[in-house]
Assembly symmetry: C2
Homo-oligomer: 168 residues x 2
Amino acid sequence: MTDPSLAPASGHDHSHCVADALARADSLCASRGARLTALRRRVLELVWRSHRPRGAYAILEDLSQQEGKPAAPLTVYRALDFLVEQGLVHRIESLNAYVGCPAPGLAHTGQFLVCESCGNTEEIDDPRIREAIRDGAAARGFRVRLPTVEVRGLCPDCQSRPRPETTP
Amino acid sequence: MTDPSLAPASGHDHSHCVADALARADSLCASRGARLTALRRRVLELVWRSHRPRGAYAILEDLSQQEGKPAAPLTVYRALDFLVEQGLVHRIESLNAYVGCPAPGLAHTGQFLVCESCGNTEEIDDPRIREAIRDGAAARGFRVRLPTVEVRGLCPDCQSRPRPETTP
DNA sequence: GTCATCGGGTTATGATATAACGCCATTCCC
DNA sequence: GGGAATGGCGTTATATCATAACCCGATGAC
Ligand SMILES: [Zn+2]
Ligand SMILES: [Zn+2]
Ligand SMILES: [Zn+2]
Ligand SMILES: [Zn+2]
């Protein structure tokens, strides 16, 4: 709850991020006839506790704590699978973790700038990167289905700060 | 050994790939003063059994079989860590697996075209992709340390074949 | 020879993810 | 409404991937 490791990116009102994400999820699922159940919605909210990718088991702990009773891994994984399918959440392969999508709605994969110091992860969708990959693959006769771009490095904040917050 | 799932890419003499990789590793490590021990060399050879990324435990099994006695996971992971550090092997994050680098020597990360049907994985180093990522990150003030590009899709062979070989 | 360094063996444990089975609520057809 | 199909989710067990902690012997510097 008040865990500082869950602090969002540099001083913004993160409750807005969460509220927006949930509202978009509600309307998107409604428009698609997808069932955003109470459990799935809660898991989405827990993914959005920060802008850092969160592991399934971290979410599981939060969920168990909220419920009082311990939840099973499958419960969380099934919810995450749904959220990923709906494009509400992206999986960060290099971290085995999940992060909320700030702009769901259209099918996209995005590219991720993952700060190795604070963990905050920015999703971008850069046409040049997308096209370079598409063309590079096409030049070799390769048919792209799912491009994965995850860039580790240092976010602007952590380049100025000497030794910032610890990992989530 | 004769496991068809280990068959290399469409009809080439894979023993050359392996021999070349080992020779390059020998000379590279010699020139750097890095110790390519018998164990590490054997693990490199096992990574190169095919052009598909192989999991640490698959390598572990091969190794145990060769030795007669069962090996421990750490044995393999330590060897893989060394090989990755030396740039002789790349880790494919989205598969939790390792693949031999066809062009070690200069520090590079490469981009990977991973066929979802046959598993064969081609490493490329496309300047346009590299530069697009560098510029896209720079535009957002992000300092890149380690770009990861893993593209899932269909290789040329598997686009023509209807239902090809199974997964490794 | 003595010491520091490093590779690697051994055992145990942690972290991530899925299989197999079944119950029950919702929905859809009639 | 009755009855069947579907899908969401609980439960238990297990698979897969990765590291911690500790020790020991080989190697090379001095
Ligand atoms: Zn926020
Ligand atoms: Zn997105
Ligand atoms: Zn080959
Ligand atoms: Zn390479």
